[in-house]
Amino acid sequence: MNDVPVRQRIREFIERHVRQRNFDDDVDIFALGFVNSMFAMQLVLFVEGDFGIKVEDEDLEIDNFKSVNAIGDLVERKWREA
């Protein structure tokens, strides 16, 4: 699977939750606002379910989740380590 669909799927998921459509893949999504208390766990379930990875306690770094590219990098790193 190449990079484009991974980031596109991540972007589509985030767009459904932040009520904003025009943001760069490096923009901090938590700084965009409109993210409720359930979003972080929805995001974990999404990446685990859609990309077949397991997010673990050592992955809990804001740098792994803050943007489309950060999440894409996490997914790809997990794939490489699998």
């Binding site: 409720n36 359930m38 929805q42 379930l45 379910g49 306690d57 809990l60």
Partner: protein
Amino acid sequence: MIELNDDQVRQREAFRSFVNTLVAPFADDYDRAEHLPRSLIEETAKQGYLGAVLPEEYGGGGMSMLVYGLLNEEIARGCSSLRSLLTVHGMVAHVVLKWGSKDLRARWLPRLASGEKIAAFALTEPDVGSDARAIETSAVASSNSYVLNGRKRWITFGQIADVFLVFAQCKGRPTALLVERNTPGLTIEPITGMLGVRASMLAELQFKNCRVPRENIVGREGFGFSHVASMALDLGRYTVAWGCVGIGQACLEASLNYAGERRQFGAYLKDHQLIRRMLTGMITNVKAARLLCLHAGYLKDLGAAEAIMETSVAKYFASTMATKVASDAVQIHGARGCSSESSVQRYLRDAKIMEIIEGSTQMQEILIAEHGYQGEYGRR
């Protein structure tokens, strides 16, 4: 997902048998005593219900979320206080499994799965309820420990828990820590006289310079709410939603029986049309709540992100339903329903609590409507 398979039906029958024999006949006594006997907790543990959703590698039952829901319905049909134990103990075990370190999992999960140790969830404070991010309990990191100071209130099973999952601010970053009951500086005061779920043995905790080993952190500093509390509360909402179905079912069964025995104006209550209207509302609403819970459980077993909001929807509907159904059950039972001769007054008191815990009805209304504007419910 509409019907249970044969295995799920068999498991539900086993839960029913346990509740009908060991729980329901004594639940009014537990309510009056504001206490669950240790023997009942031990028997519940022996059945594997306290570790039901933990994986077998830790001594758990590896139960699916859907079957775990059925278990919570059946337990709550008998006693909401015992269901509360499953809820808080399960919430802690669930997040230690997901976000605990390898050492923390190895140390705690087998003991939580067996029920050797009881866990409680310590988030709420005297001045902080729904606005959980405003907690004031502090954790100051030193070389090998966190120093905890603050108070937690309304902690379910705080009177007997061996370990608490405590949420605190660490340099302004929400952090979750496992704190053992015997930690020096922790004092525990029982809370009594609650409206409902009276045997859930609430307590207030006070932490005065409690030293907690750094390795007791669950998740990472700063992720205490977003990932740890949020995940625990999602499971809590799920079990509470199912518990409300159990309360509704108990109300329905009591009302069908009573309306079939009691005669007024020369006819059984069940033959009076206004009573039939209440019974019809009960039957329909209990079924509807159960279907929402089944849907949430089905999504949880898939690991779907949608499960979180659908659990919120199920909890919202089921808890408001339970209050209405229990109120109607008391109405049908008349004076008897208001007395200690009947369990329906307990069901009504317990149902009201369900609208407050694990996200109040009003918090659910805010979140569900907000989700509607994210498009999930608008494009069908």
